[in-house]
Point group: D2
C-alpha cells in the first residue's frame, strides 16, 4: 500500500484540526506518512499554533505521521499525492470588506455570492493558478482538492486554464443530505439526493429514501421548521406555496436570490449594529477564542468549540473524497466538476455542482436523466453567465469583462451600481489584484 | 392573381388608419378585395368611427376595396387570407392598471415587461387561442400576423398550443434599423443588423453597412446622443463603458433590465405626478384627441397626429410582411418564431425574435453562425424561463405556475413580493382571467 | 427484509439453471421467497424438465424457495418484484431462419445484428409490450430486467412505449471486462472500462487498471492473441494498424461491421456445410444434449456442459444487477438505458449501452466526460438510425418504415436487396408478425 | 461602383468559357475590370488556348475587360476581389486512376465519393491551403468561391484551417431545382427546395411550388421517368416504394449509397469495356475535341459542345453567387458552409450543404425548422465522420487517420479492404501527397 503525502495549503486556518481529525479517523484506509501544513508569512503565528496542536493530536492517536509546517509551498508540494487548498487571500479582513462594501448600494454583501464573492474570486484565482504551476512542476500526478471559496469559480479556473487533476468541494451538499437524514430519522446512507446546480446554488431535484421519492415529505418538514441550513446563513423561513409549487429542495444560499430584499435588510442591520457586525466580524471573535484554546498544551483533540465556526462536515467531505480516490471506491459524492452536457444550456467547459462517481480516475458526473426544470434553469444560467465572465476577469484582469460580469449578476440592480461596485472593489482590493495592473 | 381578404381583429384601435394606409400604399403588390375590421361590443363606437375613416381613405385612394365593420368575429374570419391581431383585452384601462400595480412594491410597471406584461399575457392568451379555434374552423389556411403584446408570449402560446400558421411581429427591430440608418445617414436597405433575442429583449449582435462591420461606430453615435428609442420608453442614456465592453446594440427595452433602479424611479415619479401619469394614462389623452379627429368627415388620410401615439413603422412592418408572404419574396424580416436551436440553450419549441426569411412558407430563421455572447445569454435564458412558465400559466390558469413565473422574473426581487404581486394581479384582472376559475 | 418474488419469462430456456444458480449463490443478499418460471404452450415440456432440475437445485441448497412452473403469465406476474425476460419468439427454429435468409443475398445472417436481428426485433417487441401491459396491471412496481435479444431494441421499445421500470441487459460488457482482467492477470474489481455505444456495438473507450490507463496494453494483448470474444462469434483477428489507430477496444460484434466480407463468407461456408450449419443449428444440438442431461433425477446442480451453450456471465450480470437494485448498492454496471444526452448526436429518448450507477432508483448513466470519438460516431449513428426505425416498425407494423429501416442498415448493400430481404422476412415470419396485418 | 478583379485558378480548364460567358452575361451587375486565368506549368498549353478564346469572347461582347493568363498565381491574386478555384491536381489522369483503383476490390470508383474522392481530397487540400496562404497575404479581403471537388471537404479544410472568407459551391442543387422546375413546367423562381445534407449527399427535404408542398408530385414524376440527374452519373431508376416511404428527393449521387451493388457493377463493366472506360476516360475524349474547337480563331462564343462535358449551370451558380455577394442581394443559394447547429448531431465546425442567404457578409444558413429525418441522419452522420477524418488526414498526412477515414466510409466493406485501398492510393498518388512524407 503506497504511503501518502498530503499537503494542506492555508494550513494555519482554524479549520485545520477538523481535517487532521478526519485523517486520523480514516488512517486504516488512508496510509498517510506525511502531512505538510503550508501558509504564508502573514499567517506564520497561526500556523505555528495549529501545527503544534496537530502534532499533539497525532501523538495522542499513537500514529507515526510526519507533520511539517512550512512557508515554503513549492518545497512542501514536492511529490505530494493530495493537495488540499483552504487558504483565504487577504484573510478575514478582506472577507469583512467583501461583506460590507456592497451594502452601501443595498446590494448583498456576502463572502461567496454577489459582488463580495466576485471580489474573493478576483483575489483567489491568480494565487490558485500559481499553486497549479507549482503542482505541474513538482507533483504533476497529485490530486488537487479545492475547498477555497468561491469553490465553483476557483475550480472552473483550474479546469479551464490548467491540466491539473482537480475536484472542487463544498460542504453544502453533504450538510443538506445529513440534515435530511436527521429530519427523516433515517440513516444517512439510505438517503439519496439528486443534486444539480452550481456551487452555493445547488438544488436537490429529488430526495429519495431508498426507492421512495420523499421530496414532498422533506419539503413539508422544512416548512414545519426542520433545519436545513448552514451556520453562516440567516435561517429565513421558506414560503410554503413557493416551495410546494417548485417541488425541489433549495440550498441555504438560494435565499440570497429568492428573498433578496429581506436578506440584504438583515445584513445591513447586522452591519450597522456594533454588537453584531457582518459574519466575518463575528467569525473573527470566534477565531480569536479558538486560537487561544489551540495554544493550550493540554489540548490534543479537536475542541468542541470549533463547531461554532461553521464548516460542519468539512473534514468528512474532504477526507472521504480523498479516500474514494485513493481506494478507487466508485462512490457517489457531490462535487464541482466540468459540466460536459449534464445541465443542458450551460457551457460544456463550465463547472457545475452535481453527483459524481469518485474513483481512482477522479470525478465522473451522473446523468440527470432529463433536463433540470425550467423553473430554475433561468437562474442557473444567469449566474453561470456571470461566473464565466468572472473567471475570465480573474485570470485576465480585464476591467471591461469585470463590468460585464457584475452587470450580469442577478443581484446587481443596474449598470450604474455595477460600476460603483467595481470602482470600490478595485480600490479596496488593490494590493491583491496584480492582474489588473492598477497603479 | 388571387384576390385577398384581410381581417383586422381589434379593428377599432386608433392604430387602424396606420395599417389601412399601409394596405393602400401597397395595393399594386397586394390585391386586397375585402378588409374586415372586427371588434367587441365595448369597442363598437370606436370601431364605427375608425371604420368610417377607413372607408373615406379607401375612397380617396380611388380603390375598389370592400370594407366591413363587424362584431361577429367568426363570420368575418370566414375564408380570410390574412388575420392581423392588434386587440387589447381590457383596453387602456387594464394597461393603466398593469403599469401601476407593481409600483407599490417598487417593481417595474410596464405594459409588456415584468409583472404588467405578465398580467397582459394572462388576459390575452386565452382570447388568442379562442381566435385560433375560429381560424382553424373557418379559415385554416390563413396566416395569423400577431401584433398583440406581449407579442413573443402570445406567439409562443399560438405555436405551442395550435397548428395555426402564425408569425409574431413587433416594430422594435424595424425601428432600431431605421434609427441606425438615419444616424449613419445611409439608405435603410444598406443596413443589416444581426438581431437575436426575445421580443422586447432583442440585441443587435452586429450592425453592418454593406460588408462593413459598423457596430462600434453605431455604439459611439448612440453614446453621442443619437436616437435609438421608442416613444413609450424613457430615453435614459446608456453607460459608455458598459456598451463598449458589450459591443452589441441593446433594444430600448433593455433599459428595464440594466437601469432598473432609475427606470422604476422615473415611473413612480410619473405615476405620482397628476399632470403626467403612467404611459397608458398619457396615451388615453392622445387617443381621445385622435378619435375626435377621426370623426371629422373631411379627414380622408391618416392624420399626422397619429405619430404621437407611438407605433412607428407598425404598418410598414405588418404590410411588408404580408406582402413578403403573399408574393413569396424571400425577404429578411425580424419576427417572432420558434427557436429550433437558433439560440443555443433556449428550448427548441420556444419563441425568439430573430432575422428570418419570409416567403410563401412563412418564417425561416437565419443561423446566428455561432452562439450568442455569454454576456447576454444569462439574461435571455432567465427571461425565457419566466416566459415558458408564463405561457403555461396563461393557458392552464395554474396559480402555482403563476407564482413560479413571477418569482423567476429577473425584475421581481423576492418570492414575498412575487406573492403580493400575484394576489394584486389576480384581484385586479379577475374578470379577464376565466382560466383561473377564481370565485 | 422484504421477501422477493421473481418471475422468469421464457423459464423453459436451457439457460435457466444458470440464473437459478445465480439466485442460490446470492441468497444471503437477495431474500427470494418465490421463483416463477413462465413459458408458453409450445415450451411446456422443456419448462417441465428445467423446472424439475431447478427444484432439485433449490433442495440441494437447502433453501426454502417456492418454485412455480406455469403457462399462465399474468397469474405468475401478480405482485412480482423482479421480472426477468429471456424468451425467444419462435424458438431456435426462427433463429435458424434469421441466420439463413440474408445469406442468399450475401448479407450477414445473425441473430441480433443485421436483417436477422431485425426479424427477431419484429417478432419480439409486440410480445414484450404485451408483457408490459400485464406488468402495468398486476405488478406495476416490478423491475423488468430484459435479457431478450436484440436487447437494446427491445429495451428501447419498452422505454418509449410504456412506463414500466426496465433495464436492458447483455453479457457482452461483463464478458469483455472479465476477459480484460484475465489477460492482464489482475482482479476484475480493479479494471474499469469506459463502455459506450449500443447493444452489441459497444466500445471500451478506455481501459483503466486502477488509476492507470492501460488501453494500449490491452490492445497489444488482443493483437497478440489474448481472447476477448463470445462463444457465438467467429474469432477473426483484428488488424493491428486499425486497432492501434483507433485506440479503443471493440466488442466482438464489431467484427460484423469492420470485417463484413470475411464474416459473411465464413457464415455462408458454415451454412452450406451440412456438418456445421448456422449457429442456431449448432446450438440446437447442444440444447438437445443439455435437456437430456437436465432430465437426469440425479442432477441437482448446473451442469458444466451448459457453458458450451454460450451466455457466460449471464447469471452474474442479471443477479448482481437485481441485487444492486434491491440493496441500493450504487454500483456501476453496464446496461441498456435511455441516452438523454450521454452520447451526443444520438436521440435523447433512444437506448444506449453504457456504464450506469445501479441503485434502488434504477440505472443512471455516467457522463462520458466529452464526446465519443468521431472515428466511431458515424457507425453508431448509422446503426441507431436503423434502430429507431426498427422499433417504430416493430410497434406499428408499417411496411414503409420496415423498408426504410432495412435500407438504412449499414450491412444492407442496396434498396433492392433491402426489398428482397423484407419480402423474405415477412413471408418467413408471417405467423409471428400480427402487427403487419399480412394476409 | 467599385471595379472588380476576378482570379480563376485552374484557368486552363475546358470549363473556363462557361464562366467567362457567365461574367459577360452579368456585366451590368458585376463591373469586372480584370480577369486573371491562372494555371500551372503542366497546363500551360491549354491555358493559352482557353485564354485566347476568352479574349475573343470578351471582344465579341464589346467589353473593356483586361484578360490576363499567367502561371504566377501569387502575382495574379494581388488585390483580387473574387477568387474562383476550379483546378484539378493531377488532371484527368489522376481522376481516371481514382475511378479505377477501387474497382479491383469491387468498391465504388468515383471522382468525389468513396475512395476516389478521398484520394482527390488528399491531393487537393494541401494545394488549396497553399492558395489560402497567398490570399491571406496578397488579397485578404477577397472571397474564395471554391468549385474544386470534393467541394465539401475542400471547403471544410479552408474553413477549419484558415480564416479566408470562403464559400463552397456545387452545381448539384441548382441542377436539381432546375430539373424540378422543368418537370413541373413552372418557372424556376417559383420552386423552393429545402436542401440539407452534405456535398454530393444533399437531400431535398421538401419541394414547394410557392406555398404548395409538391414533394409527392415530384417523387411521382421522378418515378415516371422525369429526369433529375447529372451527366456523369448513371441514371438508374429509383425504387418507388423506397422513395415514397422516404418522402424526400435524393440527389443523383445518393445512388452510390442506395444502389451500391448495381452502380459498382455498371462501373466495372464500363471500365472493362475498352470502347467505354471510366467517366474520366470518356471525358478525356470530349476534352480533346473541345480544345480542338477552342483553337479555332473564328470561335468567339462558348461552343454548344461544351454541354456534353457536364457541369451544367456551373457558371450560373458561380456568377450569380458572386453577384449576390457583390450586390448584397440577400438571395437564397444552396452552398457549402459551416454547420453551426443547422443539422443536429453533425459537428458545429463541419461543412454542410444547405440553403443560405448570400449577401455582402457571405453565407448564412437557414434553419431547417426541426431536425433532418432519422431516415437519413445515419447516412449523413456516417459520411460526415469519414469527412472529418479525411480532412484531418489531408492536412496532416497521417496514415493512421487515413486508415480510420477509409474504414469509416460506408462504401468500404472492411478494414482489410480499407488497408488495401490505402496502400494502392498512396502508391498511385505518391507524387501529389507531400504531406505523407512517403519515401
Amino acid at each position: 500500500m503506497k504511503e501518502l503525502k498530503v499537503v494542506v495549503i492555508g494550513g494555519g486556518s482554524s479549520y485545520t484540526p477538523e481535517i487532521i481529525e478526519g485523517f486520523l479517523k480514516r488512517i486504516s484506509e488512508l496510509p498517510i506518512k506525511e502531512i505538510h501544513l503550508v501558509d504564508i508569512k502573514e499567517g506564520e503565528e497561526k500556523l505555528s499554533i495549529v501545527g503544534s496542536l496537530a502534532r499533539r493530536m497525532i501523538k495522542k492517536a499513537g500514529l507515526n505521521i510526519k507533520l511539517v509546517i512550512t512557508l515554503n509551498r513549492r518545497e512542501a508540494l514536492k511529490d505530494a499525492d493530495f493537495v488540499v487548498t483552504q487558504f483565504r487571500v487577504g484573510g478575514l479582513e478582506a472577507r469583512a470588506k467583501d461583506e460590507r462594501f456592497p451594502l452601501k448600494y443595498k446590494v448583498l454583501g456576502q463572502e461567496t455570492t454577489g459582488p463580495g464573492g466576485f471580489a474573493k474570486a478576483l483575489r483567489t484565482i491568480p494565487v490558485m493558478l500559481d499553486i497549479c504551476k507549482d503542482i505541474k512542476e513538482v507533483c504533476p500526478d497529485a490530486w488537487l482538492i479545492n475547498f477555497t471559496n468561491p469553490s465553483g469559480l476557483v475550480t472552473e479556473a483550474v479546469l479551464k486554464y490548467t491540466d491539473i487533476k482537480c475536484i472542487g468541494l463544498c460542504n453544502v451538499p453533504i450538510h443538506m443530505a445529513m440534515d435530511v437524514a436527521n429530519m427523516l430519522e433515517v440513516p444517512y446512507r439510505d438517503i439519496f439526493i439528486e443534486f444539480a446546480g452550481l456551487n452555493h446554488l445547488v438544488w436537490g431535484k429529488k430526495v429519495w429514501h431508498k426507492d421512495k421519492d420523499v421530496t414532498k415529505e422533506v419539503i413539508e418538514k422544512l416548512l414545519d421548521g426542520a433545519v436545513l441550513n448552514m451556520k453562516n446563513i440567516s435561517n429565513l423561513k421558506w414560503d410554503g406555496d413557493f416551495l410546494r409549487a417548485l417541488g425541489m429542495i433549495p440550498c441555504p444560499y438560494h435565499r440570497y436570490f429568492y428573498m433578496t430584499d429581506k436578506m440584504v435588510e438583515e445584513e445591513i442591520e447586522a452591519a450597522e449594529d456594533c454588537n453584531k457586525g457582518t459574519r466575518a466580524e463575528q467569525v473573527k471573535a470566534v477565531e480569536k477564542t479558538l486560537f487561544e484554546l489551540y495554544k493550550s498544551p493540554e489540548l490534543n483533540v479537536k475542541p468542541k468549540e470549533l463547531e461554532k465556526r461553521g464548516g460542519a462536515y468539512y473534514s468528512d467531505a474532504a477526507v472521504s473524497l480523498i479516500s474514494a480516490i485513493y481506494n478507487d471506491k466508485r462512490e457517489i459524492h457531490t462535487v464541482n466538476t466540468l459540466n460536459n452536457g449534464i445541465i443542458k444550456g450551460v457551457p460544456d467547459n463550465s463547472v457545475i455542482e452535481t453527483n459524481c462517481i469518485i474513483d481512482s480516475r477522479g470525478a465522473t458526473p451522473l446523468s440527470l436523466k432529463g433536463d433540470l426544470q425550467i423553473e430554475v434553469k433561468g437562474l442557473i444560467q444567469a449566474v453561470k453567465s456571470y461566473e464565466v465572465l468572472a473567471v475570465e476577469t480573474a485570470v485576465k484582469g480585464d476591467k471591461e469583462k469585470a463590468l460585464l460580469a457584475l452587470a450580469s449578476h442577478p443581484l446587481v440592480p443596474s449598470v450604474t451600481v455595477a460600476k460603483d461596485l467595481l470602482d470600490d472593489l478595485l480600490m479596496i482590493n488593490k494590493e491583491y489584484l496584480p492582474q489588473f495592473k492598477l497603479d
